[in-house]
């Protein structure tokens, strides 16, 4: 579908209400229509496969192990949310996939980061540039700084297609206007001539999204796309993501620490802690049946309107020092269920369902069955 067709269809279907968590009919199997109302389809076609990704940075203070063996897959049309607190390696993971880690001081090693059939880690910088912005696009956290203040919106929108798709000036402009329509910016022809400072924060984020989508990528990496926006704008931007995904079938990796955002648009969730993915599962599994104590702690620390008078329960302690990460489970020091084995040996992956996987010794049959309800009642 071209940008123009998408824009026209969107104009018809705009303001269709967004699906909430319970509207999702999900059986945990792939190949199902997840949100029939919004024509969203998650397919079996694997678009990204990250295997044992390690990223380290050499600094004056030593070597930081920012990402320590991350594995995940992403399917066409799917939204994967990577959740975790600050410094857990979410952004570094996305930058590594995108080829934005400066080497040195960074160092990437992996058993493969496959985009479709190509291993991104084996591409030269020049080959990578043909994928950046074309097949994989990125949306940045702060729209106030992500746009160049000295270039017009039009130039920033069109330079990508001009370079990658060899479009002429007029064609590129037409494409840019279509994209601005797609992301809901009125008067696109005039707006193209304006500079970023003439737009509000929400508008700028829409422009950043338009820039990311202009070459019709198959994968969109959104690094905290709503964190810098105020709440009402956040909702609009999230709805825009849903609309775009249902129209273009783009796969999305959503990096966030906001579980509200996750609940709204994610299909699957990967919870990261201290440079590792400690639990993955589809949205229902993570929200209703979290298995890792860290995931539980994370969910408990979210304010809820339905539990009146309840206090927020922060997770005690701080994440481990990634200059010298622990050999065992990195969460052991903060974990209320910590056992001797936890501090010494990193747990194996336990698959609870086809999608739900967790790295925790509590899943081991030998582990004393600690009652989850007790933990919640604490």
């Amino acid at each position: 579908m071209t940008g123009k067709q998408i824009a026209e269809e969107l104009a018809r279907t705009r303001l269709e209400d967004g699906a909430d968590l319970d509207a999702v009919d999900h059986t945990g199997k792939r190949g199902k229509v997840v949100k029939p109302k919004k024509h969203k389809t998650v397919t079996d076609e694997r678009i990204l496969s990250v295997q044992d990704l390690h990223v380290t940075f050499n600094t004056y203070g030593g070597t930081v192990q920012a990402v320590r063996g991350v594995n995940f897959d992403l399917y066409k049309g799917e939204t994967l949310a990577i959740v975790g607190e600050s410094g857990c390696g979410k952004s570094v993971t996305s930058n590594a996939i995108m080829g934005l880690i400066q080497q040195p001081p960074g160092k990437i090693s992996s058993k493969g980061v496959h985009f479709k059939t190509r291993d991104l880690t084996k591409l030269s910088k020049k080959e990578m540039r043909k994928i950046q912005g074309v097949d994989i696009s990125m949306i940045f956290q702060d729209p106030m700084t992500a746009l160049n203040p000295t270039l017009t919106i039009g130039e920033q929108l069109t330079e990508g297609v001009k370079q990658h798709k060899n479009l002429g000036k007029a064609e590129a402009k037409e494409r840019a206007i279509d994209m601005l329509k797609l992301v809901g910016i009125p008067n696109p022809e005039e707006r193209l001539k304006q500079y970023p400072h003439q737009f509000s924060g929400g508008m700028r984020q829409r422009i950043v999204i338009a820039i990311a989508l202009i070459c019709e990528p198959e994968l969109l990496i959104a690094d905290e796309p709503t964190t810098a926006l105020d709440v009402t704008i956040q909702a609009q931007i999230l709805e825009l993501f849903e609309e775009i995904q249902s129209k273009t079938g783009v796969s999305i990796i959503l990096i966030t620490h906001d579980l509200g955002v996750v609940a709204k648009i994610a299909d699957r969730i990967a919870v990261m802690y201290a440079g590792k993915v400690i639990e993955t599962g589809d949205k229902r599994e993570i929200f209703y049946n979290p298995q890792h104590p860290y995931t539980k702690g994370l969910l408990n620390s979210v304010p809820r309107l339905d539990l009146a008078g309840g206090e927020l329960k922060p997770i005690d302690g701080t994440p481990p020092d990634l200059f010298a990460p622990p050999t065992g489970c990195p969460f052991a020091a903060r974990c209320p269920f910590s056992m001797d084995v936890c501090t010494n040996v990193y747990p194996e992956v336990t698959a609870l369902s086809e999608t739900h996987k967790v790295d925790c010794w509590l899943q081991d049959p030998r582990a004393q069955k600690l009652i989850d309800e007790q933990a919640f009642a604490r």
């Binding site: 995108m98 934005l100 990578m128 540039r129 043909k130 994928i131 950046q132 912005g133 074309v134 696009s137 990125m138 940045f140 956290q141 702060d142 700084t145 992500a146 746009l147 160049n148 203040p149 000295t150 270039l151 330079e159 990508g160 370079q163 990658h164 500079y195 400072h197 003439q198 950043v208 820039i211």
Partner: protein, 311 residues
């Protein structure tokens, strides 16, 4: 835009008026007069001369007549050299000084920016260290020292360039080099540090994520933003180059305005002092105005004029 330029123009006139007034009173506060000399002049002759040049009149009358000469841009003849009018001196000297100044500015800006950008792109590598070592040396050596060293080495010892005067492009190399090295070094250092900062900005990361070619990222995305601080100090550098021309013109025997300016002050040649000072300051003020315009072109957020309907 027209309104802004008009406003700036009025401001320039006020500034020139203040400079002219200050110059006039400072000039008369300095002991001595253009008619004083070692020879013993007959008192009657002295009085006649003073009457002829209206120096016997009270200061405020003289002030008014000088102001009049500025407004009509007719400073009259030089007192020391009555065969020439001040306007003739300006017309002869200015084109040469202007040439020297403009070539120097171009050389300093272009090479400074290239050097600084290269240093930033090769941060902490050989090119960076070499460029910055060169910049520190360039900033530390005064232009008159550099000028004499250049003459001794390149002109006298190696005979590569002519040592003085201003007749052909080859003659221009040494004076421009001597005058441009300092400003170039300052621009290079500034460009480097501001470029390093700009390269860490989100919009550069975003341009890289868009797969834009590195050359275009540097030239189109980074450089324009990195040049803002350079434009800011251009005003100061211009003033520095202007005063530098006095010295350099003297050393290289270049027949520019600088000689007349310095000589006129030594001789208390009032009309020439007034003429050259007003001319120099008008020129500098105009260049500063150009810098402000460039500022607005480089950064669209700086509005030179208020436009209706801007959000």
């Amino acid at each position: 835009m027209g309104k802004y330029i008009f406003k700036r123009f009025l401001m320039m006139l006020v500034t020139i008026f203040i400079i002219a007034t200050l110059t006039f009173f400072l000039m008369h506060a300095v002991p001595g007069s253009p008619l004083e000399s070692d020879r013993n002049t007959n008192e009657t002759v002295q009085a006649n001369l003073e009457r002829f040049y209206k120096l016997d009149q009270p200061l405020h009358i003289q002030y008014l007549s000088y102001m009049q000469s500025i407004v009509t841009f007719d400073f009259g003849p030089s007192i020391k050299d009555p065969n020439r009018t001040v306007n003739e001196l300006l017309a002869r000297g200015f084109p040469i000084s202007f040439e020297l100044g403009i070539i120097t500015i171009l050389v300093a800006v272009v090479s400074g920016i290239i050097l600084g950008t290269m240093a930033a792109l090769r941060h902490n590598k050989m090119i960076d260290y070499a460029a910055m070592a060169f910049a520190v040396i360039g900033i530390s050596i005064p232009n008159f020292v550099l000028a004499t060293v250049l003459i001794q080495q390149l002109a006298v010892n190696w005979n590569l360039f002519p040592p003085a005067t201003w007749t052909s492009p080859m003659h221009m190399v040494l004076p421009v080099l001597a005058l441009a090295t300092g400003p170039m070094a300052i621009i290079a250092r500034l460009t480097r540090s501001s470029m390093l900062e700009v390269l860490t900005q989100d919009y550069i990361k975003m341009a890289r994520a868009k797969g834009i070619k590195p050359m275009r990222i540097v030239l189109r995305h980074a450089l324009r933003n990195a040049l803002m601080p350079v434009v800011t100090i251009m005003g100061t550098l211009l003033a520095g180059i202007l005063t530098g021309t006095f010295v350099i013109e003297k050393i290289f025997a270049i027949p520019g305005m600088g000689k007349y300016f310095v000589d006129s002050i030594n001789n208390r040649d009032y009309p020439v002092i007034m003429g050259t000072t007003v001319f120099y300051s008008a020129f500098l003020i105009f260049m500063l105005f150009l810098v402000d315009i460039v500022y607005g072109i480089l950064d669209p957020r700086i509005k030179l004029h208020k436009k209706e309907g801007d959000v």
